[in-house]
């Protein structure tokens, strides 16, 4: 639905990319490394009806819960604004992921090689949803080093899913991750680009 008024200045078109991965995988670090400002935080207040039945049963008095999401902005000329959203870590917030994933360009799943299994829920989610995604292996100091093929095997990823090694603290490296995702998404949804 567009409810812009024709005599008003044109608004830039907003595009979003999701940054997923386990707790401590470096989601907010990556968002901060490429965004034009420090990561911002937005909150959705949810009533207990919207949340999985298991989580609030032991806290009788609590009727609302808050989901926080860190995000960043990259202005791309006059026409587009790109938003990077770190997905909330807890799996009981899947329905927040649904809102985030709707209309998104795609997702980056950040993998921490010390806890590769933390990626499984994200991989499952985006595969099921048909959202284009890439896996970015965040190479922490002292973390075990893996070959891309080993990560692919461990996560049972199709050969068509790009896997890249990155350092989420570095702007250049995080930018390359985003470029890989945009090309991948374009390949799947539009025509190939150079």
């Amino acid at each position: 639905m567009v409810f812009d008024r024709s005599d008003r200045p044109r608004l830039p078109t907003a595009i979003k990319i999701l940054i997923a991965g386990g707790f401590g995988a470096g989601k907010t670090t990556l968002v901060g490394a490429v965004s034009e400002t420090r990561p911002l935080r937005t909150e959705e207040v949810l009533t207990d009806r919207g949340v999985g039945v298991d989580d609030l049963s032991s806290v009788e008095a609590k009727r609302t819960t808050t989901v926080a999401m860190d995000f960043g902005r990259i202005t791309l000329g006059d026409e587009y604004v790109l938003y990077l959203f770190g997905t909330p870590g807890q799996e009981r917030f899947w329905f927040v992921w649904d809102e985030l994933a709707e209309g998104s360009l795609g997702a980056v799943i950040l993998a921490d090689t010390r806890r590769l299994a933390d990626c499984f829920p994200s991989v499952d989610y985006f595969e099921r949803r048909g959202t284009p995604f890439v896996v970015a292996v965040n190479c922490f100091d002292g973390a075990p080093t893996f070959e891309v093929d080993e990560v692919r095997l461990a996560l049972q990823l199709d050969t068509s899913v790009p896997i890249i090694l990155c350092d989420a603290r570095r702007r250049h490296s995080s930018r390359e991750v985003l470029i890989t995702l945009v090309k991948h998404s374009a390949r799947l949804r539009a025509e190939p680009v150079g």
Partner: protein, 119 residues
């Protein structure tokens, strides 16, 4: 004050600001719906709340719902309601993103790639 009567003001504030409303009068604002203020800032006769004025000041440059929420330290749902009020009074121009972005549009991918490469 006993513990059972104590309510976190952070939980209450969003509802006070919207006077208990949870859905905007106009539009379905996504987290990345963009809004921009239009026209001169309204005076006191407009009967707006301080938060409405804060949004109008913030949106002199286009901002998303998520950004407005972050800067005003209010939940996104509260911002949606307040933006609906402002849109209803023609004080902001806003657009939903989903119908705007065609994910098959090669032009969009090229613009995003060019923008990222020039970072």
């Amino acid at each position: 004050m006993t513990e059972e009567h104590w309510v976190d003001p952070e939980i209450i504030r969003p509802y006070v600001v919207t006077r208990g409303r949870t859905a905007p009068v106009h539009g379905r604002f996504d987290l990345i719906s963009m809004a921009v203020s239009v026209g001169p800032p309204p005076g006191p006769e407009a009967g707006l709340d301080p938060e409405h004025h804060s949004i109008l000041r913030l949106c002199r440059e286009p901002k998303s719902v998520a950004e407005i929420a972050a800067h005003l330290d209010l939940p996104a749902g509260t911002i949606r309601v307040l933006l609906g009020d402002l849109f209803d009074r023609e004080l902001v121009s806003a657009q939903e993103p989903q119908s705007e972005v065609d994910m098959r549009d090669m032009k969009m991918y090229r613009a995003v790639l060019d923008g990222l490469r020039s970072l």
